[in-house]
């Protein structure tokens, strides 16, 4: 690596690019469309009881599912990407895999937290409780969140970056492998799940509801992509900033000493003139 005595200043001042700005704009527009569909054009979930004639169902709480379910799916996508990237860290050991793993884990954890929060908010009017121990999906998502919160904590520790990235990769892979165990044990534990009582199959999934849900998936996917892109770039720049700081420090140190003296001190025999 050539070390210049003075480092040129940066000419780019952000992590955006034409592609990411286009994606961002499209996402915002799309979220607006999703909102209109979710709140105005679709109906609430109202069903008539066959014998008593009473109205029952989720009523307007169903509109929360248009964000909750897509967020959940994208969480799995993000953590799945993290697992694949973690494999890449252990096998290929290039910085690209490492930055991707970290970015996917961070964005995934944000999404996972939102899944828990939106789920809890949805659950209050529909299941009449903020939280339900023994619901399989809820418990699994909670443990998943805790595991990746641990991953992020590990990432923040100081130490040899290569070593930290390898340990983090192990943590991510063990987390992903542990999830089926968590799922199975909770399923056996209570042998029931509130989630089952009101799955997507129960809802009147007519055309517009289904379309809105699909649009929700698309929108959350775009949000995920945009966030991943920027988080990746930030991660990459953090690495570059570290390298740059080291290079600048070396250059500064070398600039303090005249060349001849440096050469002499490393044993290059020269005319003692």
């Amino acid at each position: 690596m050539t070390v210049e005595p003075t480092i040129a200043a940066s000419t780019r001042d952000n992590t955006g690019s034409r592609g990411s700005r286009l994606l961002g704009a499209a996402t915002i527009v799309g979220l607006g469309v999703l909102g209109v569909l979710a709140f105005v054009l679709t109906d609430a979930d109202v069903r008539i009881h066959p014998t008593t004639g009473e109205e029952f169902g989720q009523f307007d709480a169903v509109r929360l599912l248009y964000v909750h379910v897509p967020l959940a799916v994208m969480t799995y996508v993000a953590f799945g990407l993290c697992a694949v990237a973690s494999l890449g860290v252990l096998i290929r050991r290039t910085p690209w895999w490492d930055v991707t793993a970290h970015a996917a884990a961070e964005v995934g954890t944000v999404f996972c937290g939102l899944v828990l929060v939106t789920g809890s908010i949805w659950g209050r009017p529909v299941w009449n409780t903020w939280w339900e121990w023994g619901d399989v999906r809820l418990m699994t998502t909670l443990v998943l969140f805790l595991m990746f919160a641990g991953y992020l904590a590990l990432r923040r520790t100081t130490g040899d970056p290569r070593s930290v990235s390898r340990r983090a990769a192990v943590v991510a892979l063990v987390a992903v492998l542990d999830i089926p165990l968590v799922n199975r044990s909770v399923e056996w534990w209570e042998n029931r799940t509130l989630h089952q009582q009101s799955t997507l199959n129960d809802l009147k999934i007519e055309d517009l509801t289904l379309f809105t849900l699909m649009l929700g998936f698309l929108m959350m996917g775009m949000v995920l992509a945009w966030l991943l892109l920027h988080r990746f770039r930030v991660g990459w720049l953090e690495r570059a900033a570290l390298d740059h700081a080291v290079a600048a420090a070396i250059a500064e140190r070398r600039a303090e000493t005249p060349d001849a003296e440096v050469r002499r001190s490393v044993g290059e025999t020269e005319d003692r003139s």
Partner: protein
């Protein structure tokens, strides 16, 4: 509309959190971009899993 409070809370927290996170990412990106000269910003050239 029923359950309005829950709807506002749910959608609000979701969009708010994502928005704040996005905003902080962009700001972090701006700060880092100012510190790192072009010579070190190699992601545009070294894109891909096999890049150095």
């Amino acid at each position: 509309m029923t359950h309005v409070g829950y709807l506002i809370a749910g959608w609000g927290i979701t969009l708010g959190t994502l928005g704040i996170y996005a905003f902080r990412l962009v700001r972090r990106g701006r700060n880092l971009s100012a510190r790192v000269p072009d010579a070190h910003r190699r992601w545009l050239e070294d894109q891909g899993p096999n890049g150095a």
